[in-house]
Each structure stands twice: as structure tokens, then as C-alpha cells.
């Protein structure tokens, strides 16, 4: 290690030798690359260093580095109680993510993280919870949904709404079906358009909210998806009476350093990588109304 090293504190549970440069990625090996939908895949990664574990909170993200190609911010979609396995669900949309899509088992990627503030699940203790995911908004929420299942008795009613473009764009479809059959929380899926082989709901996610049962004043909401979907959902929740400070949304901006230095992810007064990505709607509402921020 170079002389300008420092201990990267807090994030690296279980790694006793974690004295390293903040930009230095840790090697992870692809165990599995699962095709979720035509353009979305899940990478299951194992640490190359024995005993390496990555403790994280649902909603946090990693910088995933494909050597020789580049680095991309990707939320963690795995189980927080299994830090020995790292899971990322990615949509292939650009140079880096398309290259990641082609990775075979045994390939190595670099990981920096986890970064940012996740979903504040502890703040929802004793309250009703509404989770709204749009498209690829489900993967960043999945770790927290696992937590809610595990700590189910701590919360009141739990409603989950998951929307996607078409039925074939629903990620984790089998797992979502399993969640529905567990009947521990109410889960609705909806798509923007479908053929006759789809017997579920069709319509944007906000159309499912009137069906949800929760006490607005005692509800915490976690919303993740395309920005316009989050804005409309947050507005609908606020209109229903959920306090804006209890509505959390996950912002996405162009993360580069992920350490709050470079400013690429600035959103108004916040650096999304450092202050977010999960932020209260109360603070974001004025900015979400401004175009091209």
C-alpha cells in the first residue's frame, strides 16, 4: 500500500487488514450471472480474499469496477444477513453494464463500498410501511424487504406495490410470487401494458395506492424507481396524508468518486453518494419540481 493510506472505517466488517486507499477496489469473483429479464441480470459475487465480507444496509450501493472498462455505481440487491455473498442486479444500458452482462463465472470485478445512506428501516418500527418499486427500483429495496420479513412483528401493516413496463420486465418474478404466497405482507404487481396472458393489474403504480390499507399519519414509505415515478408516487402518498418526512426516495445521479468529493452527483445542496441515495421527500420535493437539476 502507498503511504497515503487510511483505514476505511465502518464499512468493512470482518476484514482486519482493511488498511487501504479509498479508491482501491477489492477483488470479487463472479459465481453466477443470472438473466432476470431480457436486459437485466444479477451477479452473485464471492470475495477473492478469504474471510472478506461486506456488511451493508438495504439501499446502499457499491462502485463495481470492471478492469480495463470502467466503474459504475450499482445498488446492492442481496440479503444483508449474508454479507459473505455480494449480489448486484444490473440493467445493461451502457458500456460498463453491457460488459458486466457478459461476465462468466470465474471472472473478477473490483468492488468499492458500500456507500451512502440506505433505507431507514428502524425509523419505521411500530408503524405501517408502504414500499413502492418501479422497474429496476425493486433490487435496491429487496434487502430491506428481506429485513421486513425477518422483523415482521416490529411493523404494522406492510403494503408493497411493484410495477414494471410489461410482465417480462418484472425482475425476481418467482421470488415475488413466493412473497405473495407467504401472506405476511400485501403485495400488488402491476405493469404498464400486457397481453392476454397476464391476469394481474395494468396501470401505473399510483393506481394501486387507493387499494392499500395503512394509517397515513403512522406510515413510513420507501419508494424507488424512475424519478418521475418516485415524484408522482410521493405526491400521491403525501396527498393521502403520509408526512413528507416519512416518505423516502432513492435518488440516482452520476456517481464517480462515491466519497462526496468530486461533485458529479450533486443534487441541489446534496451529494447523492454521500448524503443519499435514500433521502426524505420533504427535502427533495422542491428540487423534484425543477427541470434538469
Amino acid at each position: 500500500m502507498a503511504s497515503n493510506v487510511h483505514v476505511h472505517g465502518g464499512h468493512r466488517a470482518g476484514v482486519e487488514t482493511a488498511v487501504e486507499h479509498p479508491y482501491a477496489p477489492r477483488p470479487y469473483v463472479v459465481r453466477q450471472n443470472i438473466q432476470e429479464t431480457p436486459d437485466t441480470f444479477t451477479l452473485r459475487l464471492d470475495p477473492r480474499l478469504p474471510g472478506d465480507r461486506l456488511a451493508f444496509q438495504g439501499g446502499q450501493f457499491n462502485m463495481v469496477y470492471l478492469f480495463g472498462v470502467g466503474e459504475s455505481a450499482i445498488s446492492i440487491s442481496g440479503d444483508p444477513t449474508r454479507p459473505e455473498e455480494l449480489v448486484h442486479t444490473v440493467r445493461a444500458v451502457g458500456k460498463i453494464t453491457n460488459a458486466l452482462a457478459g461476465l462468466k463465472p470465474g471472472a473478477t470485478v473490483g468492488i468499492r463500498g458500500p456507500y451512502g445512506h440506505g433505507w431507514p428501516l428502524d425509523s419505521a418500527r411500530g408503524r405501517d410501511i408502504v414500499v413502492v418499486a418501479g422497474g429496476l427500483g425493486l433490487p435496491p429495496l429487496r434487502p430491506t424487504i428481506y429485513e421486513i420479513f425477518r422483523r415482521r412483528a416490529e411493523f404494522g401493516r406492510v403494503e408493497i406495490i411493484y410495477g414494471a413496463r410489461t410482465p417480462k420486465d418484472l425482475v425476481f418474478a418467482e421470488e415475488v410470487r413466493d412473497w405473495i404466497t407467504r401472506r405476511e405482507m400485501r403485495i400488488q404487481t402491476t405493469v404498464d401494458a400486457a397481453g392476454r396472458d397476464w391476469y394481474g393489474d395494468v396501470g401505473v403504480v399510483t393506481t394501486r395506492l387507493p387499494d392499500c390499507r395503512f394509517d397515513p399519519a403512522k406510515t413510513t414509505a420507501f419508494v424507488c424507481g424512475p424519478e418521475i415515478m418516485m415524484k408522482l408516487t410521493a405526491q400521491a402518498l403525501a396527498q393521502r396524508g403520509v408526512p413528507p418526512e416519512s416518505i423516502w426516495i432513492s435518488m440516482e445521479r452520476n456517481m464517480k468518486c462515491a466519497l462526496g468529493f468530486c461533485g458529479h452527483c450533486q443534487f441541489g445542496p446534496s451529494f447523492v453518494c454521500r448524503d443519499g441515495p435514500c433521502l426524505p421527500y420533504k427535502a427533495l420535493a422542491p428540487l423534484l419540481a425543477v427541470k434538469e437539476v
Binding site: G134, D192, A193, G195, W198, V202, V204
Partner: protein, 156 residues
């Protein structure tokens, strides 16, 4: 259908949240020929191009609104569920359905006769205005939802 059965249905309509606040006597007049119906899974409620002779309050189940053309598969663009209102083609000339509606679950509805409803609205303009103040937000909300769908927000 007349008599007590029909009265019970009219009563049910009058107590529906959508009709809340409207003059119940005129609601009764408007829905005098309403009837309860059941549709099996896959059964069509309405077909595009046919006269819109009624509109529906969905009591239970689910209805898919479909559009299609000869050169492409049928696409469901919206689903209507319990407690929701189905159809406004009955209110707008030429009073023909603009889409197909198919039950995607066993579905119970109250079918409200369009001619009777239009007659009641025409005869009582103040009531018609109040009714439209209730009806327009439903149309506006669906228009907004359609705009969001058109944005293809989940697309890349």
C-alpha cells in the same frame, strides 16, 4: 328489472363513494334501470365500436381494458377493480365503446342503463353539473395515468 330488487341496487349505487353527496332522489332516478350482473373469467363486458348502452360500477373482480388491431396482438392498457367505475363512452357522442373490456377474474358489476342516466342528467342540469364534477376527476386521473404510461418511464 323493477320492484324491491331494483330498489336495493339503486340503494347500493346511491351509497357508493362515487355518488356520495349527490341528491339521492335524482341518483335513484338516474340508476332506475340498473341491474347486477356477473361475468366469468374471460367474458367480455363490452366490445369496441358497439353502442355504449350502459356503464358499470365494479363490485368485485377485475376488468381489463383492451385495445387491438388486426395487425397486432391485443394489449391491455388498464385494469379496473373493485369499487371503480368503468366506461364514459355512454356520456360522449356517438355513444360507442372505444375499447374492449374483459373480465380477468370472476367479476360482479352493477350495470347502469345509459339512456336512463342521460335522460336524468338532461332533465336536471344542476344535478348533471354535480355529477360531472364527480366524473371529471375520474377521467382526468385516468388521462394523467395514461400520460405517465406513454412516457414509458420504465424504458431505457
Amino acid at each position: 328489472m323493477n320492484g324491491p330488487r331494483n330498489e336495493a341496487i339503486a340503494d347500493q349505487v346511491a351509497h357508493h363513494p362515487f355518488f356520495a353527496g349527490l341528491d339521492p332522489v335524482l341518483v335513484y332516478e338516474m340508476v332506475a334501470k340498473a341491474e347486477e350482473r356477473s361475468y366469468d373469467l374471460g367474458e367480455m363486458l363490452v366490445r369496441e365500436g358497439r353502442p355504449a348502452e350502459e356503464f358499470f360500477l365494479v363490485l368485485d373482480g377485475k376488468v381489463a381494458l383492451e385495445v387491438g388491431a388486426a395487425d397486432r396482438e391485443v394489449i391491455t392498457v388498464e385494469t379496473i377493480g373493485r369499487g371503480e367505475l368503468l366506461g364514459w363512452s355512454w356520456l360522449v357522442p356517438p355513444y360507442r365503446w372505444r375499447f374492449d373490456a374483459r373480465a380477468t377474474k370472476p367479476t360482479q358489476v352493477i350495470a347502469i342503463n345509459a339512456a336512463t342516466a342521460r335522460y336524468a342528467l338532461a332533465a336536471h342540469p344542476a344535478f348533471a353539473y354535480q355529477f360531472l364534477l364527480k366524473f371529471l376527476p375520474v377521467i382526468a386521473e385516468r388521462l394523467e395515468n395514461t400520460r405517465v404510461q406513454l412516457l414509458d418511464i420504465h424504458g431505457v
